[in-house]
Amino acid sequence: MKTEQDRAWERWLDRELKQLPDLPAPAALVHRVMLAVHQRRSLPWYRRPWPAWPPSCQIFALLLFAGLAGFAITAVINPAWLPGWKGLTPHLEPWGETGRGLLAIGTTLLEAAVLLFQSVARHLFLVGLVLVLAGYLCAVAILSACYQLAFQRR
């Protein structure tokens, strides 16, 4: 049970604490921060955190990942579409040897993927995907429960 004396002390303490001035930061702090900033600025853009990427790179990366995700989803839903991508070949001709090399690598990888999709029934693949996701969620739930038990609130 708080006495009036306790309450008066709390009020006094609250007032005094709020009036405490800021402490002076160490003189080296500014130098330290600017040095870290300089080091960060000297990093190539792709090694910086995402928000610090140049806007053009952010947009390009977003489009690239969206394209890859769309491609992966399409490949899972309709693998029969995949062989049709070879129609791109004429467009890559102007790239010369590099374009043809990349095309050869891409062809090999995609044909392997197509074979995988065709040999494993599509629905089986989707079921596997769902099972993997469910397993991941179960693992997260079990680990969270263990964490709660280990660090139970007192």
Partner: protein
């Protein structure tokens, strides 16, 4: 691209506030410097938004507080362990009877009193200092502090009470030795 000179001026303008916020929560100068640096690096990433914003100070304070609490939570198990070990140190022992020192000029002693208060606050155990700072400096409610620190409401109330009592004892004790004129505070020297 952020202008380095402009950003340096920004750091100089806010460094004391950021450093003090971190130091009050963490209690260690080296940790407070690390957190202050990380806070300013985050500010650098969005300096374009912050530089002309009236809420830059509030943003910096919130980020500093969150980073400091995250830093502490990495050692939560250890923190709780020591919290339990020290619970009887300051709060459970019988209140000593302090003799009232002579009254002094309150104006003259205000600076000394604040210096002692800063020092006593930093010497509090972490389990008492952190909720006390969140309550008095950041204005968080008991429930918010409990949720943020992941401990029970009862523990927060107990820790804050013990922290206040520890401050009262320590400051009164200092006042006895240094004659700081702390009797200007209500009930400060009554016990």
């Amino acid at each position: 691209m952020t202008d380095p000179e402009q950003f340096e001026a920004f750091v100089k303008a806010y460094q004391n506030m950021v450093y003090t916020t971190a130091l009050r929560l963490l209690g260690r100068e080296s940790d407070a410097e690390d957190i202050a640096q990380e806070t300013f690096l985050r500010a650098y990433n969005r300096f374009g938004d912050l530089v002309h914003s009236a809420s830059a100070g509030g943003w910096l304070k919130t980020v500093t507080r969150n980073l400091s609490l995250n830093h502490l939570s990495r050692y939560r198990a250890r923190w709780r362990f020591f919290s339990e070990m020290t619970t009887g140190e300051d709060g459970d022992e019988k209140e000593p009877e302090w003799a009232a020192p002579e009254a002094h000029d309150a104006q003259m002693d205000a600076a000394d009193r604040r210096r002692w208060l800063q020092s006593a606050l930093r010497r509090l155990p972490e389990a008492q200092r952190v909720p006390l700072v969140l309550f008095h400096f950041d204005g968080l409610a008991y429930e918010e502090i409990a949720a943020r620190l992941g401990v029970s409401l009862a523990k927060i109330k107990t820790d804050i009470h013990r922290g206040r009592e520890a401050l009262r004892k320590r400051l009164t004790h200092e006042a006895q030795g240094k004659e700081l004129g702390l009797c200007g505070a209500p009930s400060f020297c009554a016990r």
